[in-house]
């Protein structure tokens, strides 16, 4: 009983910590967009290739956040939810 409650609580805390990755990626991608905007203001004729490169770089650096999201989804849906159902059954 207590063990199940501890596991569920640990999964919740771990999911919250893993989502820090999302915030850090947000900072990085905003920085990239700002730099791209500066480059576009300096050279408006290069707009197309700057935008393509920016989107590509942001998509690749987003992988970290996506991995964190996958880990969180796995933790919540494959570990916490079945345990939560068992917990509610035990409570009656």
């Amino acid at each position: 009983m207590l063990e199940i409650a501890i596991i569920i609580g640990a999964v919740a805390i771990g999911s919250g910590i893993a989502l820090v990755a999302g915030g850090l990626v947000g900072i990085g991608e905003g920085y990239a967009a700002g730099k791209a905007l500066e480059a576009m203001a300096r050279q408006p004729e290069m707009e197309g290739s700057i935008r393509t490169t920016m989107v590509l770089g942001q998509a690749i650096s987003e992988s970290g956040a996506i991995y964190a999201l996958a880990v969180v989804l796995f933790l919540i849906f494959s570990i916490a939810l079945p345990l939560l159902e068992r917990f509610l059954e035990l409570l009656g």
């Binding site: 989107v55 590509l56 998509a59 996506i66 991995y67 999201l69 996958a70 989804l73």
Partner: protein
């Protein structure tokens, strides 16, 4: 998270994602057939939309790969149309976007991966392709192999995570406030993010094939 089986055809299980993939395939075939029945030299109406899509992908592929990329245009255009339609399908109530199932996105990423390697073997020969794994030094062989595998992983997980994450968020808002509030969220997560993620997936597919060729 688990794949939902809708029905069986002669002991072949048909999952929800596969069912909606078939619907999207039929829809795309029908629309393409109806829109290309009588093409005119001076475009009118929906022919504009069609020409923008085809010319956009053509420019993207030819800018990245040069003239040798011409044979990849139909593949990239098919991936772009399918992924975009699949992402937007989530707007329809009761429908599920097939790209929020990991099987679909892994299949698409594996397709791009195999096409890239097959094109490299075809254009450069088997020996040059095999030697590519041992560059710049043979000691880096494991890192090169892991890099290739993680390319497929990140390519598929990016689309899957974005679409599934948006779907879960909209689902939570549905539970809290079922009226009016989910509509702008649906527009944002399914239509706008769907279009952006389709563009990113297409762009990355082009780049992953292109780095195999050069």
């Amino acid at each position: 998270m688990e794949t939902k089986i809708l029905f069986n055809i002669l002991s072949f299980p048909v999952s929800e994602a596969l069912f909606f993939t078939w619907i999207i395939m039929a829809f795309l075939c029908l629309v393409s057939f109806l829109l290309t029945r009588n093409l005119q030299r001076i475009p009118r109406g929906f022919q504009h939309v069609l020409e923008i899509a085809v010319e956009g992908i053509e420019n993207l592929v030819l800018d990245n790969m040069g003239p040798q990329g011409k044979i990849f245009i139909p593949l990239i255009l098919t991936i772009a149309l399918y992924v975009f339609t699949a992402n937007v399908t989530g707007v329809i109530p009761g429908a599920m976007s097939p790209t929020s199932d990991l099987n679909t996105t892994v299949a698409l990423a594996l397709l791009v991966f195999l096409v890239g390697h097959a094109a490299e073997i075809y254009l450069k020969g088997f020996k040059a392709w095999f030697r590519g794994f041992f560059e710049p030094h043979w000691i880096l062989f494991p890192i090169n192999v892991v890099g290739e595998i993680s390319q497929v992983l990140s390519h598929s997980f990016r689309l899957y995570g974005n679409i599934l994450g948006g779907g879960i968020l909209v689902g939570i808002v549905y539970m809290l406030a079922p009226y009016a509030l989910p509509v702008p969220l649906l527009a944002w997560f399914d239509v706008i993010m769907g279009a952006i993620q389709a563009a990113v997936f297409t762009l990355l597919a082009t780049v992953y094939i292109q780095i195999r060729l050069n």
